[in-house]
Subunit: 356 residues, 2 copies
């Protein structure tokens, strides 16, 4: 049976990525060696990371002022890295608090100095994106989360920040057009639209670095990875190979603009049914709904078993909401075909026909 | 042609690891999904990391007092982590300096406090392991490197340290029996005897933590990973799967004692030829020679092209010494068969017959 994988991350990737990674585990580029046993400094390995970097630059139209780096440790390690690289000793930073990941980013940054939470949607359980806020001009930077994976909200536009803008784009990177030049740093755990779990990407404006007065460990210093072209130490070869393949696939689809159209179509299909179908209710504020993660609840909890049996029958997998919020979450990342959303919608209609 | 892979890391792994990882990229455990698209919190993923952890405990006979954790960032990120987790504010630590990796560990630790380099072999280009040194009883910990990957030296025994002993075992972990109870922390980048590049392992004595008075970012705090059983954030699923498979293979070989015997046989075969053959000279002090990395030079540089042509013909790959030291380095990690060493020795004999 075909499985429709709505996992929130790590998540579905294109079949060609699976196939080529499998092949490389046995025989990488016809070299007679597995990609798993080669030095990250071997010429054909270096080509992988160079190609991945170049593809990020091309697909996201990264300006000359910014470098693309690959690290490890996930977005969670970026939280303290951001603060240690950008928050001056004795300085302050402004944060927007729009969900659990933003909370974690704030928690980690507070270890390094004063954090001004200038806007928060915690009052309504993170169901919306704050719009009325002023970014203080004396902040070292402004931090926001473009897409709130758990709560299903997404920033539809970014402010014109008077200070460097830093954004956690873990769950919507490469899903839509973004003007990179507006940002000081963009970062993302790879395990959604970038590739498999095991690498982390950052796009860093070079001239922001080296100004905090802090003594930063080499690995945690963006400057180290820029200088060493992400080969400061052993990088996760198979994971970065997956990133490269996934970016090649995205380019073949027509790039970010093309995938954004499909993402919009998928999201519209999903939200239309959530709204139309009397058995379900969306949980996020309509204008702030995420195109990546649609969160919704079943109005009548007594239909839970029946709904989930139908989902299972149809091959719909990993629709359960995050353990902190419950309900359902349909994650519709780049590699999820429209067909999978249609199958899910079909199941929702079936439930309605039986019990609506 | 069969390739004999002497890469210093990432390095050769058992064929069964390549085969099973390839299979999992397409269809993980017959689940109908790729291991690359599943949540790290899915039951069968959690089983992978739990199994890997249990195998480390079993194979290394880890005492109850210690926890096994998997992280990212490589051994290079462990360098500052060690200091921030164990070096008290205003305290000092003792380091043994036996190579480039020890130098880096020292460099990173110095950011956190006073570092006392109590022994160094830098005076002779790191060709030996210092033996006469006293570990100060007022140090917060003593740090050493069990195997110096670049210079080809290895500690044959460990001191009875009056303070917690911390060891970078990146390049000889699981290659020989070690009494874990003697150590406060053992850590290793996975990409030698543990598995593919992309994960890092630490074995940590629980009761040493939480005593520095430092404000440690969650990801960099061992306590976080212990508490969350290495699932604080998204872990590198495919890399840890490779670790698990590799540990299963090692167990099937008879475990650490059995592999240690073969490693000794491989090293003896290698060093016997280096010594016997007049064209070559080993670079490390004989009694400190590493069983993992044999470093040697060709006495007559004019034979370089000829030697390397013969190596190529025989399928001997990645024998070039580290870029910092030159010469040759035969890395003989667990998965390298004795046969590969014999092939290399054969080539050395051939060269001798032609030019000796
Ligand atoms: C928006 C966002 N930020 C941060 C994280 C944490 O990422 P990681 O697990 O790579 O640390 C996630 C994980 O899902 C996320 O969705
Ligand atoms: C003994 C030792 N320590 C540390 C390192 C650095 O490891 P990583 O690249 O995982 O940071 C290496 C890498 O080869 C090593 O051999
Ligand atoms: Mg969130
Ligand atoms: Mg409705
Ligand atoms: Mg060394
Ligand atoms: Mg000789």
């Amino acid at each position: 049976m075909k499985i429709h994988n709505f996992s929130a991350g790590p998540c579905i990737l294109p079949q060609v990525v699976f196939d080529k990674m499998a092949e490389a585990c046995i025989n990488f580029n016809n070299s007679g060696t597995s990609i798993l046993e080669i030095s990250h400094r071997r010429k054909d390995a270096v080509e992988v990371i160079d190609t991945a970097r170049a593809l990020v630059k091309e697909l996201m139209n990264v300006p000359e002022s910014h470098d693309v780096i690959f690290m490890q440790g996930g977005a969670s390690l970026q939280f303290p890295i951001i603060a240690s690289n950008l928050l001056k000793e004795g300085g302050k930073a402004a944060y927007m608090q729009t969900g659990k990941w933003a909370e974690n980013a704030i928690k980690e940054a507070k270890r390094f100095g004063e954090i001004d939470v200038i806007a928060s949607s915690k009052d309504k359980n993170y169901t919306y994106i704050p719009k009325d806020y002023t970014i203080p001009t004396d902040a070292d930077y402004f931090h926001c989360t473009s897409n709130n994976t758990i709560f299903g909200t997404q920033m539809k536009q970014f402010p014109n920040s008077p200070v460097p803008m830093v954004c956690d784009m873990s769950s919507d990177i490469l899903s839509r057009k973004v003007d990179v030049s507006k940002f000081g740093v963009i970062y993302a755990g790879a395990q959604k639209n970038m590739g498999p779990a095991g690498s982390t990407m950052a796009i860093v404006q070079r001239d922001l670095l080296g100004k905090t007065g802090r003594n930063i460990p080499d690995y945690l210093n963006y400057a180290t990875h820029i200088k060493n072209e992400s080969s400061f130490n052993t990088w996760p070869v198979i994971a970065i190979y997956g990133v490269m393949l996934n970016l090649q696939w995205l380019k073949e689809q027509g790039g970010v603009d093309a995938i954004a159209k499909i993402n919009t179509e998928k999201a519209n299909t999903m939200y239309t049914e959530i709204d139309r179908n009397g058995l379900f209710t969306g949980t996020a504020n309509v204008e702030d709904r995420s195109q990546m993660n649609a969160t919704f609840v079943l109005n009548n909890e007594e239909l839970k078993a029946e709904f989930e049996a139908l989902l299972k029958q149809a091959g719909v997998d990993s629709l359960t909401g995050h353990r902190d919020v419950g309900g359902y979450r349909a994650s519709m990342y780049n590699a999820l075909p429209l067909e999978s959303v249609q199958v899910l919608v079909e199941v929702m209609k079936q439930l309605e026909q039986k019990f609506g």
